[in-house]
């Protein structure tokens, strides 16, 4: 079994994906998803903290951190099924810490690898807390940073 981080790291490190770091000069930050981070660390002994940051930096040289981050990161507020249940007010209330982190770090783009996190930040927190950012999937950022979009790699080292 592979996580999306394992797969993307492999592609970029072995040269199967060529990325152009000039396409996204805007300040960008990475949101640690609770389950890829803390939960994975506890359950499998490895938290996916550094992979996402490294990949984002390959696309966005102007990278900033939110604080706290990694093991101490704040949940977006939409996890655990909360995005899909009718406790709307509690979900937005929970997200206040994440919204403050995003605003304080000054980024114009937040990258994350989780559908729940992306939807909570892009479709809810941005509006509820008036945040001037775009929230993108990690693989979306890579797809938008391809040096030669449309071209198929010869396969690299596999």
């Amino acid at each position: 079994m592979l996580s999306i981080f394992d797969l993307l790291m492999d592609y970029v490190q072995t040269g199967r994906l060529e990325l152009d770091p000039r396409l996204h000069p805007e300040t960008t930050t990475f949101h640690d998803s609770c389950h890829y981070g803390r939960k994975s660390l506890q359950a499998f002994g490895h938290g996916y903290f550094e992979e996402g940051r490294w990949l984002v930096r390959q696309c966005c040289p102007n990278y900033v951190e939110m604080y706290p981050n990694r093991e101490g990161n704040y949940c977006c507020g939409g996890g655990g099924g909360l995005w899909s249940v009718p406790f709307h007010e509690e979900r937005v209330f929970h997200g206040r810490f994440k919204a403050r982190q995003i605003r304080n770090c000054g980024a114009r783009r937040v990258v994350t690898a989780c559908h729940n996190c992306r939807d909570q930040m892009e479709k809810s927190l941005r509006k509820e807390y008036d945040l001037d950012v775009e929230v993108v999937y990690l693989w979306e950022l890579l797809a938008r940073s391809l040096a030669a979009p449309g071209r198929r790699s010869s396969g690299g080292s596999r």
């Binding site: 592979l2 199967r16 609770c34 101490g72 704040y74 507020g77 406790f87 559908h115 939807d119 979009p149």
Partner: protein, 308 residues
């Protein structure tokens, strides 16, 4: 009660400090040590002491603190009704890590972004599990408002498995207490293969349309691999994408194509979500995972990309 300091009392009585210490140690002067190197002496014992030294108790400056025993008023009923604690059970605590080792320090409650919502917080949940108040937990909505984010566990100095406990409460609640949308999605997934009940022909249709669009956008030769036997990676799909945001599926497809990956989607049981994780239903969670494993066997794929 009267608060005394040994040095000061010794001065007032004209004896050595150690004399007072000896009286206390031998029990001649009943006194109770309190923080700040001070002692509490009852009014009566203080009067006796003063009379023995021929002093007027009123003339000696001391600090008095009112105590229940000093007051004449009858005992009052507590304003908040006391909670009846129940005997301990193992319902929510299969492992002692779930609660017994808790020091009650409250670090978890400080870390939790929804502390105080519904008057609950992680510390209270743990204490309720320890003190036999399972039934109150099983009637609580709070466990569904928690996002299982684990900030509480990160803060806990004793590694109490608070998230597991909260998920166990979710799992033990009657299924009609599970938020309807989650339970319905799970049921739909069991019946149709995905949370949103997208029929197989619709899923295939969406995939083929998106592939056509990619070719039009300049991704020459792009074909969406459906049920390709022997592909290296089986890719799961989050059902909200074909349902609501189909264009979002193209991002990952572009990456996989650009990397020259050998990959495939399955047209059966392609759901990458497993909401049984959220509802605390281990049996269903296992059944849904087994479906993905079956698809890997059917398509002879070596690797599963999950979650997505």
């Amino acid at each position: 009660m009267i608060v005394v300091q040994i040095g000061r009392l010794a001065q007032q009585l004209g004896v050595h400090r150690n004399t007072i210490r000896n009286w206390i140690r031998s029990g001649k002067l009943p006194a109770r040590g309190v923080p700040g190197k001070r002692y509490l002496i009852s009014e009566e014992d203080f009067h006796k002491l003063c009379h023995a030294f021929g002093l007027d108790p009123e003339s000696i400056a001391v600090r008095r603190i009112p105590m229940k025993a000093d007051q004449e008023s009858p005992p009052q009923e507590p304003s908040v009704p006391l909670t009846q604690l129940k005997p301990r059970t193992n319902l929510l605590r299969a492992s002692p890590q779930w609660a017994d080792v808790c020091l009650t320090c409250g670090s978890c409650a400080s870390a939790c972004p929804i502390s105080a919502v519904d008057g609950l917080d992680p510390r209270k949940v743990v204490r309720m599990a320890v003190l036999g108040l399972e039934n109150q937990l099983l009637e609580s909505d709070w466990v569904w408002k928690c996002t299982l984010c684990g900030k509480c566990e990160e803060a806990c100095p004793m590694n109490v498995e608070i998230v597991s406990l909260i998920r166990a409460v979710r799992g033990k609640q009657p299924r009609d207490r599970v938020p309807v949308s989650l339970q319905r999605g799970l049921q739909t997934c069991l019946e149709t293969g995905n949370n949103l009940g997208i029929p197989q022909e619709d899923f295939v249709g969406v995939c083929l349309d998106l592939a056509d669009e990619l070719v039009e956008e300049g991704w020459n030769g792009f074909r969406v691999p459906l049920d390709v036997k022997g592909a290296r990676v089986l890719v799961t799909v989050n059902s909200k994408e074909p349902f609501a945001d189909p264009d979002d599926m193209k991002f990952l497809w572009k990456v996989l194509h650009a990397a020259g990956e050998s990959w495939t989607l399955t047209t059966e049981h392609w759901e990458g979500l497993n909401w049984a994780y959220f509802t605390g239903d281990d049996q269903t969670m296992r059944a849904l995972v087994a479906r993905l494993v079956d698809q890997m066997a059917r398509l002879e794929c070596r690797t599963l990309l999950l979650p997505l």
